[in-house]
Symmetry: C2
Subunit: 792 residues, 2 copies
């Protein structure tokens, strides 16, 4: 398995696209951005394409410009691609109609993302690609990192051969950002798949004064309709061409795909039809349930346009009686989502034209799932099959939410796990955005993927507040290919890493822990104090689930090693030691190698500090002995204070606590209108250190107030009597300036719960102690004494 | 019927929209432009809306900006609308998702037009509105000028009540530019239809510091899906709200509409489902065929989104066995067009969920028609019903073209006429773009509509070459409402007007004439010469069809009256006299009144010249006596010369001859790629006068060459021996300038067949004869002597 690589979906796709194109026109949009960034980086580094040319990467001022550039480059005969998502894709629609109408070979790689409606969302569903289904592009869905890479190549081959442009899409974040262990396609396979005669044909069709022709004309009613039908044969041929490309690809790689891939019982009566990453989870779930004797199956739709109803019907078992078609999008006002209507049409056409594949007309129902990356789990999939088996299967249902308004939602068993997932190892890590946890876990999964025989998967959940917000890393690995495209569930993790002490009081991390799991804590306390500082619930979970607990003061190790606040390699080293994935020395060697790869360009000082931290890590790691009973008086903090408006307790508070998934439809605004000022209830308490004023040095310039991105520093002018009852140590100083009356005071006050400890205020502060230049008028101080003093 | 008005669809819609809105954000795009122009004109003239406010009309730099302006104005609580088409609508898609997601009441009025694909087209189909069917907008189709006006009001009422934005669409050109006699909605009806409480509710939802709220947030996977489902009830309610608005409207006006309107046999077995102006023709055709006992019917879909499958099913007769669903769009690669799949889904859901409306599962097939304003006639509609009755009705068929490649097309009887059309009077007029024929016919139809009890319709066919190209005016009027949304067919016109003598040799105008029809000719020849100057085919048609022929030298009448080249009122006067629509004196009075209305602002000289021309017209009109036999040796000119490339003879030549409709699919490029240089074969011969050089005055400045928009003037330098054999009168002069050898000559040569007679060259020519300032170096001369000389 040494030939396998462990990369994310965007990189896997960009690798192929960069190798097969000459012009790459982009405008960055989440979650597709990194495809363009990789391509740009590779071209800048002189990495050439399959023909030895250097792909030109062009960033425009919007996706509309990128689409125009693609169109223009294609018309000059260049192999051209782009990467986009969501609104970016919408801006390309006008050009897409033309690119398709002109029968131009090209592949657009789309990390599918929700289109903004009542709210913007950076997360995944298929509303963006569905908005393009009328353009005349072929549309090919890939379901995993491996498929996204493979289909990037297959789509390009089929597009060049058929002259029909392809929209190749895969799920944003779930596939684009999932790190997975895959077999790379090498140059030989690409060479075999791309026939240079097609490239020549594309070149020959370029607009050129050497072969003058005109395109982009205006047509009148006399010939437009006929011309629009003139391309029919091309569309009729594309499915065969694509199936042929898949067969050739299988011949070269052993990885076999079909336009419609069926898996499950040969005599299935209930079949789910689905597209995108959810098909992976459905695959495992169907395998699990058919092993128990369920007559069910799964049809993965890969080629969505052109839609071949007859092939779809042929791919289904003859025994089918009921079909559930799941769409990852919602078109309000449509009587069913796009894939559902396609399947209904295919079945109805087959039956009513006398086709005899099925004993009767199968019942087809449609449902929605996974909008904006809503989880789609084995339990939800089982609930769909359960609903299908009822006498009156619901249509237009939803799954994954609780709809208490129009009652579309199915109930599901959140604890249901597939055999495949039960045989997989799970680890989960809680970090802060920018604290290095995610990059350490990327390295970890790469080491596991590339240094062991295990299959490996890493998925990262970011709060969209980005820096300073919580990040959760979900790692899976094991002997069998990993198809679990959902997060690690409650009670499933064998390892829980908490990289920030502040989470202990706020997040119920141990609900994720499996019985007998290991819990690793980074805390600034002596090991002996750790147990007593835990909230009571955490203690009880440790006892009930028989957890083994380890603690390390990683910040102090990092500081000693000269790493500042970078604790990621220290925590990574502890994880490898505790999880016993590799022989300890080998693991440490691999971690150092990955550090060398990541920080190699930043100088030897950084490298050596990291190596020192790694070597020191295990010496500072120690086991925490749980007591026999949970005796702590500490309780987990509520997400918002008790006395708040109803909306804040019902909605905002649950969002902050990470329980937004449980909020039912009835509690949410129908039109995206939210109350203002609720940030007042969200006390993030992220800072380990906060700025404190030195009133003898302050020159009252106010820059700290101006620069604070969270408005956590305020200045105030007041008369002396206003602070007569202020606590000891309250900082104030006389105001200078003729516009102020004499005797007025001023302060710069920091809100410790809102400050993120970013230090921008300290960095900008211009006032220094002349006798000690490192002392400014604003300096960072550890927060605990400040909080203690506030409590007084 | 004095309360009726005769206006086009755009004006009818704009009238309502301007009256019901406060902000109108536009960017002009054919064929929707005049809606914005009217609104702008009315606001500039101080015409207020229903509430006494002056609507603010804002033109942006593109439709993307217009959509953003609409979105912003709506968020501030202003009643806001826009008008657009085609690519313009595509640029609005991103904002449309947001406007709908935020449940914002607004109506977008769309004159539906093809989206550019293999070629651009300004003409009508539904590809643009279909590209928006996922946005969450309600979508309402109106089928005629009357409906477009009525639905503009109904849509606004329903949108305000439901908070769901509506896309109100009607067919570009066919409805937007058709002049029809309709009942206007007056202010009282508007007042009754629009409840001010809805307006207040809209105001209250505006973003305002007085009621702070936030919209346009970002949402994460935790709540996006639930929020997206939270609006379900609004969509479920919209059909009832809209049906209620239609009922109230019927109460006020007597004009009754339903979401799905069925017409035809109560026991129909074959039913057509259709949307847009074609439903009008289908209405007449179904009435005609059911009168003959056919068990057929028609379902007009008015509310396309939300699609209510159950209501659709309920609107169908229980006896239905076969349905043909016709879509005016093509989505290459889709297994059926949008309306087709909606109907299949509705029927399949009804039957498979045990609904008992039909004896069995009706067979549903889909077809495409009318792309880019391709004609859709009663004969085509009958062919669809005929196809439905066969044992194996074709699916995915086309009608209106000949598809000899993928054989999708149905055959049809081009001569089939409905009873309704047989009872209607038809007149057809051939003019040149900018010669005034179209505006005269607009006045004519207005006079007929407003001064008689007849229903009236005018539709104008423009070549997209615009000025200088042929225009054909199709006028219908009669006792019954006119639903014919297709052009006047061959052999149907009781009156044929030829406003330009040059058409005689080039266009087969009399194929349109009915037996016994009247043919009016504007020719510069004495009446006695007219017969002999006709081509032989025209003479034969006159004899065979028993036509009465009249001639007038309208250009000479116009010149004498001081009207220059404006012949429109002269020809209009002759038409009224010959067609005997009104008592002659009354007709003349009405024509003068309409002249006063049209030219009143241009000064009394213009008015008086027109009045003189009108008074003189009939004195110069005389009947042409046909001879007993067609003895002319003149033949109609071929559209291109005989010896041309195959593509030019097969395609270009047929396009120029006006027979592009007959070109089969196989002859057209599949990808919009056309050969260049074919303009060389299109000799338009439009000019009555062309510029001729006065070599003694020319200063060789070259401005005439530079300014000619058709490149019909070329300059050439040559040695004297090159023109030794030139014909007499060939104009040349010595070249001046030291860069030329002595003895060289130069000419400015005009291509008479390419020149359009626009006079730009003469206007710009700076060289004048000092003794006769009206004589320039370039002067217009009648073309006939020039052509005669060329022939020598």
């Amino acid at each position: 398995m040494t030939s396998m690589i462990t990369i994310d979906g965007n990189q896997a796709v960009a690798r192929v696209a960069h190798r097969l194109n000459e012009v790459i026109a982009i405008y960055p949009i989440t979650p597709s951005s990194s495809m363009g960034e990789y391509a740009d980086e590779w071209s800048a580094a002189g990495i050439t394409n399959l023909w030895g040319g250097l792909p030109k990467v062009i960033e425009m001022q919007s996706e509309a410009g990128a689409a125009g550039t693609v169109h223009g480059a294609l018309q000059r005969g260049a192999l051209t691609t782009t990467f986009t998502s969501s609104q970016g894709l919408l801006l390309m629609i006008p050009n897409m109609y033309k690119i398709a109408g002109e029968l131009t070979p090209a592949v657009f790689h789309v990390a599918a993302r929700s289109v903004a409606s009542h709210a913007l969302s950076i997360f995944c569903d298929h509303s963006d690609v569905m908005a393009c289904r009328g353009t005349g592009f072929g549309m090919l869905a890939s379901n995993s990192v491996q498929e996204a890479q493979d289909f990037a190549l297959i789509a390009q081959a089929a597009s060049l051969e058929s002259c029909i442009p392809m929209l190749h899409f895969f799920d944003g974040f779930r596939t684009s950002h999932e790190v997975a262990k895959i077999v790379p396609v090498d140059d030989e396979v690409m060479r075999e798949m791309i026939d240079d005669r097609w490239v020549q044909k594309h070149r020959q069709r370029a607009l050129s004064p050497d072969r003058p022709a005109i395109r982009g004309t205006a047509q009148n009613p006399d010939v437009f309709f006929q011309s629009r039908e003139a391309a029919n044969l091309h569309y009729q041929r594309l499915p065969d061409i694509l199936a042929g490309a898949m067969e050739r690809f299988a011949g070269h790689t052993g990885r076999s795909y079909r336009l419609f891939d069926y898996t499950g019982a040969a005599d299935a009566e209930s079949v789910m039809v689905i597209m995108g990453s959810a098909a992976e989870t459905a695959h495992d779930t169907v395998a699990h349930l058919t092993a128990q004797g369920d007559k069910i199956g799964l049809l993965k739709v890969r080629l969505f346009r052109p839609m071949c109803g007859e092939r779809l019907v042929e791919a289904l078992p003859r025994t089918v009686k009921r079909l559930a078609v799941l769409d990852r999008c919602k078109e309000p006002g449509a009587a069913g989502e796009p894939l559902y209507k396609d399947v209904v049409t295919a079945i109805a056409e087959h039956v009513s034209s006398g086709g005899g594949r099925f004993a009767g007309m199968p019942r087809v129902v449609g449902g929605r799932y996974g909008l904006s990356s809503k989880e789609f789990t084995p339990g939800m999939i089982r609930s769909v099959f359960d609903a299908l088996k009822t006498d009156h299967p619901p249509n237009g249902f939803t799954v994954g939410i609780r709809d208490d308004v129009t009652h579309t939602s199915l109930e599901w068993d959140a604890g249901f796990q597939t055999d495949a997932d039960l045989q997989t190892r799970h680890a989960i890590f809680y970090g802060l955005g920018s604290d290095g946890t995610v990059s350490a876990n990327r390295n970890t999964i790469r080491i596991i993927g590339e240094e062991t025989d295990w299959y490996a998967q890493a998925h990262f959940v970011f709060d969209s507040k980005k820096a300073g917000a919580i990040t959760v890393s979900h790692l899976r690995f094991g002997d069998r290919p990993i198809r679990a495209t959902y997060l690690i569930g409650k009670g499933e993790a064998e390892f829980v890493g908490c990289h920030q002490a502040m989470f202990i009081d706020r997040h119920d991390m141990l609900e994720m822990a499996k019985d007998g799991a290991t819990f690793l804590l980074n805390v600034p306390w002596p090991t002996a104090e750790v147990w007593d500082r835990m909230p009571q619930r955490m203690q009880q979970q440790i006892i009930d689930k028989h957890l083994t607990v380890y603690a390390i003061d990683a910040y102090s190790v990092a500081k000693q090693a000269g790493l500042g606040k970078r604790i990621n390699t220290i925590m990574q080293t502890c994880y490898f030691a505790l999880a016993d994935l590799l022989p300890r020395d080998e693991a440490i060697e691999k971690i150092k190698a990955s550090v060398r790869q990541t920080y190699g360009t930043k100088g030897s000082r950084i490298l050596e500090a990291n190596f020192a931290a790694i070597d020191q890590a295990l010496a500072h790691l120690s086991e925490v002995e749980p007591a026999a009973a949970a005796t702590s008086t500490r309780q987990q903090q509520p997400s918002v204070p008790g006395d708040v408006p109803t909306f804040v307790s019902d909605v905002t508070g649950r969002l902050i606590a990470g329980h937004g998934d449980d909020i039912p439809v009835s509690l949410l605004p129908v039109d995206g209108t939210w109350p203002t000022g609720t940030a007042a209830y969200e006390k993030r308490q992220l800072a380990l250190e906060i700025p404190v004023l030195e009133e003898d040095l302050c020159i009252l310039c106010g820059k700290c107030v101006f620069v604070c991105p969270h408005s956590a520093i305020r200045s105030k002018v007041f008369s002396a009597d206003a602070i007569e009852d202020a606590p000891d140590g309250f900082k104030a100083m006389p105001v200078k300036g003729k516009e102020f009356d004499a005797g007025l005071l001023m302060t710069y006050q920091v809100a410790p719960q809102d400050c993120t400890g970013c230090t921008l205020c300290v960095d900008i502060c211009p006032a220094r102690d002349k006798s000690n230049l490192s002392r400014k008028a604003l300096n960072m101080h550890p927060i605990e004494p400040v909080l203690e003093r506030e409590k007084q």
